[in-house]
C-alpha cells in the first residue's frame, strides 16, 4: 500500500470498506436484477485512497483512455459526504432502453433518443445508487440525502471527474464495483468517492461497525 494511503486510512480499514461495499453493491445489483430480470455478474470491489489529482488517470486506466462513457452522477450527504458515479461504456444506453422497453420497439417510439437514454440511465441510477449508498449508510448507522442525478451521455473518460469535484491537493477514497449484464452488451462500474474530510468520521464508523463482531 502506498505510504500516502497508509498514513490516512489503514489497510484494515480498507478491508472493512471493501466488505461493506461488497454487501452494499450485492444489495444494489439484486434490486436492479429484480427490476430488469437479468443476471448481473459482479466483481470484487476495488477500494483505495489516492490523491484527488490522480483520479483522472485512475479512470483512464479502469475504462480505457479513448473510451466513450455515459455517466450518472449524484451527490450524497449525511455524516459523511461523497459522490456516486454510475459509469457505462458506450452503447450500453441503447441496450438498457431495449431491456426496459421489454424489447418492444414501439413502446418509446415517440421519445427523442437522447431524452430516452437520459431517462433510462436516471432510472437505473436511482435504483443502483439509492440501494448501494443506502445500504452503506445503514451499515454505518447513518442516513443519507441525495442530490438529483445528473446524466451525461457519450462523454470522454476525462469528463467522469469534473474539475470542481475535489480540491486537487486533497485525497479521495474510491469504492469501485465493476459489473456486467449476462448475455447483454452492458458493462459498467459504480464508483463511490469520499472526500478526505469524510475520513475522520468514516474511520470511527468502521471501528463501530466491527465492534459488533469483536
Amino acid at each position: 500500500m502506498p505510504d500516502h494511503q497508509e498514513s490516512i486510512i489503514s489497510s484494515d480499514e480498507i478491508d472493512i470498506l471493501q466488505e461493506i461495499m461488497n454487501i452494499a453493491f450485492g444489495k444494489a445489483s439484486a434490486d436492479l436484477a429484480e427490476y430488469i430480470d437479468i443476471f448481473i455478474k459482479l466483481s470484487v470491489p476495488d477500494v483505495r485512497m489516492i490523491p484527488a489529482a490522480q483520479l483522472p488517470s485512475y479512470f483512464a486506466e479502469m475504462v480505457g483512455e479513448r473510451e466513450r462513457v455515459s455517466i450518472v452522477e449524484q451527490k450524497f450527504w449525511g455524516k459523511f459526504n461523497g459522490y456516486a458515479l454510475l459509469v457505462f461504456t458506450s452503447g450500453a444506453e441503447s441496450e438498457l432502453i431495449s431491456i426496459l422497453s421489454c424489447e418492444d420497439p414501439d413502446l418509446f417510439r415517440d421519445e427523442p433518443i437522447d431524452d430516452l437514454a437520459k431517462g433510462t440511465l436516471m432510472e437505473i441510477g436511482n435504483i443502483v445508487v439509492g440501494a448501494c449508498v443506502g445500504k452503506i449508510a445503514e451499515l454505518l448507522n447513518d442516513v443519507m440525502a441525495y442530490s438529483p442525478p445528473v446524466v451525461l451521455l457519450e462523454r470522454s473518460v476525462a469528463d467522469i471527474i469534473p474539475d470542481d469535484m475535489f480540491n486537487s491537493a486533497d485525497s479521495a477514497v474510491i469504492l469501485n464495483a465493476l459489473f456486467c449484464f449476462e448475455n447483454r452488451e452492458v458493462n459498467g462500474m459504480l464508483v463511490l468517492l469520499f472526500s478526505q474530510a469524510s475520513v475522520v468520521w468514516l474511520k470511527k464508523a468502521l471501528s463501530e461497525f466491527m465492534e459488533q463482531y469483536a
Binding site: 478491508d15 472493512i16 471493501q18 466488505e19 461488497n22 454487501i23 452494499a24 453493491f25 450485492g26 444489495k27 445489483s29 439484486a30 436484477a33 429484480e34 443476471f39 448481473i40 459482479l42 466483481s43 470484487v44 451499515l139 466491527m210 463482531y213 469483536a214
Partner: protein, 119 residues
C-alpha cells in the same frame, strides 16, 4: 456432527465476521481460504464437515468452486455466504448442491439457525 469448518472468502473482514458469529465450541476446528481455488484445495486436504463459501471471489468464484467441490464429494455440506442476493445467483447455488444460503452480513442468530439445520 460438525467439527471441521472451512470458510472461503476473499475478504479477511468477512471471514472474521463469520467466525465471530459461530458459537465458541471447543470441538470446532477452523480452516480458511481467500479464493475458490485455494478453497477447493483446502476442502480436498481437510475434508471439512461444513463449508461456508462466498460467491464473488477472485481466481475462482464461489459457484465454480461449489461445482468443483460437489464433484469431489457429493455429500459435501456447503453454505453459500454472500451479499449477492440475486434470485438467479441463489437458484444456481442451490441447483449446484448448496444446502443453504447465508446472507451477508451474517448475524449470530442466522448462523446458529444454519448450524442447527445442518448438524
Amino acid at each position: 456432527m460438525i467439527k471441521k469448518i472451512l470458510i472461503v472468502d476473499d475478504s479477511p473482514v468477512a471471514r472474521k465476521i463469520l467466525r465471530s458469529c459461530i458459537p465458541k465450541e471447543p470441538e470446532y476446528e477452523f480452516f480458511e481460504a481467500a479464493d475458490g481455488q485455494a478453497g477447493l484445495e483446502k476442502f480436498k486436504e481437510f475434508t471439512p464437515d461444513l463449508t461456508f463459501l462466498d460467491i464473488t471471489m477472485p481466481v475462482m468464484g464461489g459457484l465454480e468452486c461449489l461445482e468443483a467441490i460437489m464433484k469431489v464429494d457429493q455429500q459435501a455440506r456447503i453454505i453459500m455466504c454472500t451479499a449477492d442476493i440475486q434470485i438467479k445467483s441463489l437458484e444456481r447455488a442451490l441447483n449446484l448442491g448448496a444446502v443453504n444460503i447465508l446472507k451477508k452480513p451474517p448475524s449470530k442468530e442466522s448462523v446458529l439457525k444454519i448450524l442447527s439445520e445442518v448438524s
